[in-house]
């Protein structure tokens, strides 16, 4: 009888499934997700959907306004702006994902060590983190990119390193909260070694806020890559990137405003999408935040 009653109860969904369900009920997060998927597909399918070669110049089509032949117009050496915007998606998304991966790969283990070990490793790591956070993000990235040399790879490394302290701090704070929980005490009492406790018992419980932070960090990294490319420290010409397109476009605002409109609008849309998705995920993973 009792078995029957238990079987009749609906099975409780996992916290992950519940969070996903909450996320799917947020229209703004869904709009964000839609555009993120759109840009990812655009980046992958660039060779097929791009109407022209993004590097092909045409001296007979210099700074042509948008038309049926060139929907977004052409640039100062006759390249198709739409083709360059489509191919530029690759640089932006790549920079966003790679630099945040670098931040996570460095920041999470260091934060885990600081939060779990405490004492002098924590003190040392915290001071270094404070020092990095004292240097404004973009200025640190500019300095690193300057010393490493201008290229997309170095820009991604510079952005990744500059964003690392945020992940160290977040992981450390989460680990400090989780490590005093009963189940961690129990794991310790059972004689599990420290690395195992840190990786198997603590790490999985600090992942949700890290996912949210990573999504928002991609938005920041996309802007940072565009900023570095705008300053000439990121993607090098003639390879297309939204930031470097804007760098050239600012010299032709009067004669060819379309050169500036589309790459900027693309950065805005991609960053907005990641911000909407990140905000939605934060609310979905922590219902109290939605208040």
């Amino acid at each position: 009888m009792a078995t029957l009653a238990i079987d009749a109860l609906p099975r409780e969904a996992s916290p992950g499934a519940r969070a996903l369900r909450r996320l799917s009920r947020r229209p703004s997060a869904m709009v964000g997700l839609f555009f993120v998927v759109f840009f990812v597909l655009l980046a992958i399918l660039a060779p097929w959907v791009s109407p022209y070669d993004p590097l092909a110049t045409s001296w007979s089509a210099i700074r042509k306004a948008p038309s049926w032949a060139h929907w977004f117009g052409t640039d100062e050496i006759g390249r198709d702006v739409l083709a360059r915007v489509i191919w530029g998606t690759r640089a932006s998304l790549l920079a966003g994902v790679v630099s945040v991966s670098i931040s996570i790969a460095l920041g999470v283990p260091i934060g885990l060590l600081a939060g779990y070990a405490g004492r002098w490793p924590d003190a040392l790591i915290s001071r270094v983190t404070d020092a990095m956070l004292a240097t404004p993000f973009l200025i640190l990235a500019i300095a690193l990119a300057a010393f490493l040399g201008p290229s997309l790879t170095n820009a991604m490394i510079a952005i990744g390193i500059s964003a690392t302290p945020i992940f160290i701090r977040l992981t450390r704070a989460q680990v400090q909260t989780v490590k005093v929980e009963d189940y961690v005490e129990a794991a310790r009492a059972l004689g599990n070694p420290h690395p195992r406790i840190a990786v198997r018992h603590i790490l999985p419980n600090v992942v949700p806020p890290l996912i949210v932070q990573a999504t928002l960090a991609i938005a920041a990294a996309v802007i940072a890559e565009a900023s570095l490319s705008f300053l000439g420290l990121g993607q090098q010409p003639p390879a297309p990137s939204w930031g470097s397109m804007l760098n050239t476009a600012k010299n032709y605002v009067e004669q060819a405003p379309w050169m500036a409109v589309w790459p900027g609008l693309s950065i805005f849309l991609l960053v907005l999408s990641f911000n909407l998705l990140g905000d939605g995920m934060r609310d979905a993973l922590d219902p109290r935040e939605g208040v």
Partner: protein, 313 residues
């Protein structure tokens, strides 16, 4: 107060020490002999020899750091190879321009962010709240250099109202100075306004549900008095500290904004130095920025301490 200050300074000093280590280490990223790289394209042997001696390249790394730090502590941030001037002199020359830009940007950010945050909290979950949130999200997602270009396109190219670039000293012609500064300052203040709006909204929502606000309402006070006099005063306290964290955004933003509007400030100094491979200037500017950021945050903390009686208790 003095105990609090001493405690804060005790955490700041090690942070500053690590900042200097971090900035000194940047030099180590340069491939090969730093003196050869720093000497630029000319590769003048005299310059290389001078740099090798000045940078103590024959000494081990920690000794070199101590020499460098000694210079920094006495105000010697090195010399710009390109401009043949001490880095400190260059910073002192460019800084007032950026300070003016930053101050106008802060005024714009406060004028937009705080009223928008109040309106958003008072009309929570109604259309003014949605509108303010949408505008904040727009502010946070717009790359400021693109916004700058779009403003130039509209106000300078289309309407011809404002100059597209350049800088005039306020002591020369205040009107022309403000005309040149208003667009860049708006661009810079825009993102900070969005952050201030979010902080004000959340602080106001918290305060508005507290007992003393309920008491003020129960006394029959006018809602305007409750919001502006009772709630806002307390809500603004955390906004001061959280807002201070945005000073980093301000300094980073200035780099891009000054580039778009060709303003000869601090931000343009670092970008030009990067392209001239004037590494001493890059290091000097980064060190100065970090120190200024730490100092401004300390000031904000002290302000928070002074305006919050509970902390003083």
């Amino acid at each position: 107060m003095s105990t609090y200050l001493a405690r804060r300074l005790a955490t700041i000093l090690p942070t500053l020490l690590f900042v200097t280590i971090l900035i000194f280490s940047l030099q180590q990223l340069l491939p090969g002999d730093p003196a050869k790289v720093l000497a630029g394209e000319e590769q003048d042997p005299a310059v290389i020899a001078y740099l090798q001696k000045k940078m103590h390249l024959d000494q081990p790394l920690p000794v070199r750091y101590v020499y460098w730090l000694g210079g920094v502590l006495t105000g010697d941030l090195g010399e710009s190879l390109r401009m043949q001037k001490p880095v400190t002199a260059l910073i002192a020359e460019k800084l007032p321009v950026t300070i003016e830009l930053a101050l106008i940007a802060i005024v714009i950010a406060l004028a937009i962010g705080i009223p928008a945050g109040i309106v958003s909290a008072v009309y929570k979950n109604r259309w003014p709240d949605y509108l303010a949130n949408a505008v904040a999200l727009w502010g946070l997602s717009t790359p400021n250099f693109w916004l700058g270009i779009m403003l130039i396109l509209f106000f300078s190219v289309q309407l011809g109202w404002l100059p597209a670039s350049g800088y005039v000293s306020p002591f020369e012609d205040l009107r022309a100075n403000l005309a040149a500064m208003i667009m860049p300052a708006f661009v810079l203040g825009n993102a900070i306004a969005a952050v201030l709006m979010r902080h004000t909204r959340s602080a106001m929502l918290q305060v508005m549900s507290s007992d003393y606000v309920r008491t003020a309402r129960a006394k029959g006070l006018n809602e305007r008095v409750v919001v502006l006099k009772h709630a806002l005063r307390n809500a603004l306290t955390p906004v001061v500290t959280l807002g201070a964290l945005e000073l980093g955004t301000l300094l980073s933003g200035a780099v891009l904004t000054e580039q778009v509007f060709t303003i000869p400030g601090f931000g343009k100094l670092i970008v030009d130095a990067v392209f001239n491979r004037d590494y001493a200037v890059v290091q000097g500017v980064v060190l100065f920025t970090a120190t200024a950021y730490i100092a401004l945050n300390l000031l904000a903390d002290l302000a928070y301490f002074l305006i919050n009686p509970r902390l003083r208790g």
